[in-house]
Symmetry: C2
Subunit: 250 residues, 2 copies
């Protein structure tokens, strides 16, 4: 067994993987500073540019962050839930925009997953978590706010709902599912001017949560998603009227 005969991937990638493993296995602890780029270069016997490319790969995954100066360096980053959710939703929006997932699938997924999630929320929700849901809804009900602000509040509302389930793992995956639908919600909103319907359903969700009525929660959720799908179809029709269908879309 030779050392490493048939390496096909680039050195910088290999180094990135090694460093990554060192982090996961705890050889580098979170918050700790890793050796300077010069020293890493010496240690691995490569140039600093290569080391930097490896570090940038890790930085793209929020695994390290760098700071300049004497006390600076590259530090192992404990990704916050926010950062994690962000990179996840980045992946999700990418999938959607590349057409790897269609809207029906996402809506179906949300029907099922968020359904379970809401049941959990009804069981576990603490008062302050319910209050957060309410706060988001209040923001959403402000008259005269922009589409963007409305959509932002919409996301906050659903995130608060998910948070009420009080489970990190569920939060992790549900944030992704929610984010994946944001572009569609945005599109729908620009055609469907009236937001009353959405707000009404949200209010229904909130009161059902307060009363811990699981059945009611499920009904309201389905109502919301049905409305979203219906609006989406209308928006698509409207769109194809004004903007000729791309016949030879190549």
């Amino acid at each position: 067994m030779q050392e490493e005969p048939i390496i096909k991937s680039s050195i910088s990638k290999q180094i990135a993987d090694q460093l990554r493993n060192s982090i996961i296995n705890g050889r580098f602890k979170t918050g700790e500073r890793l050796p300077t780029e010069d020293e890493l270069a010496n240690r691995y016997g490569v140039s600093r540019a290569t080391i930097r490319e490896a570090l940038k790969r890790l930085a793209a995954q929020n695994l390290v962050r760098s700071r300049r100066g004497p006390t600076g360096g590259n530090f192992v980053n404990q990704p916050t839930h926010e950062e994690l959710a962000e990179s996840l939703s980045g992946a999700a929006t990418l999938l959607v925009s590349l057409g790897s997932m269609d809207i029906e699938e996402i809506v179906d997924a949300r029907r099922v997953l968020q359904g379970s999630c809401l049941k959990l929320a009804a069981q576990h929700a603490k008062p302050e978590q319910v209050q957060k849901v309410q706060a988001a809804l209040v923001r959403q009900k402000q008259v005269g706010i922009s589409d963007e602000a409305f959509c932002h509040a919409d996301v906050a509302f659903h995130r608060a709902l998910v948070d009420a389930a009080d489970n990190s793992m569920i939060r992790f995956v549900m944030y992704t599912t929610i984010e994946a639908l944001v572009p569609i919600t945005n599109m729908v909103l620009s055609y469907v001017k009236d937001r009353h319907e959405i707000i009404a359903i949200h209010e229904r969700l909130l009161s059902a949560l307060e009363q811990k009525r699981e059945d009611e929660l499920e009904i309201a959720l389905n109502q919301l998603l049905d409305y979203l799908m219906e609006s989406f179809r209308l928006a698509q029709i409207q769109r194809s009227k004004y903007q000729k269908p791309p016949s030879g879309s190549n």
Copy 2:
């Protein structure tokens, strides 16, 4: 409004973000080749090293892949589901290893999410998907296979179950949840030598799927997760016997 007065992040990061947006907005289509590094460097008015660091950030997210030679270059990569699942599970294992999520939460999440997922599977599963589940179970039942191989087959089994739900979004998030538990499963297996219990429950799951019995699926799932948690606790106790608690672990 000046051009860009108060930028704090590095140029390479900014360029990476710009390229990323160009890809998402479809200015660069999937499979397409982007300009050579030299040309990008000219276009952005930076050095090639900077461009390369930006590209490595994107490569770390599986957004681009590079090839050498005349027809080579950096190409926009349509991430396969495998790659996506891989990077997701990478994030998940990271979260677990960094202790951002505890096992109870993951198991609870799986109870709920996979529960819904199995119901969907019972409704939608196509024959060939059921067959894949069966195939994975057969592999797992081979006598004398290593812990590693057993665990691999275990993942394949659960993935096949998820695939049976026939929904890309669900697959996306469930793969993550499954992967997050792999390290624990591994650890449990190294202490709990007997695999019969797991296989028995898996067989129960399979037959319940074949008969489309949703209630039975849920019961079996809970049984499996209960067993896992119980074994995990035992493993922890066993562990603390042989390996002194790290009192001053410095």
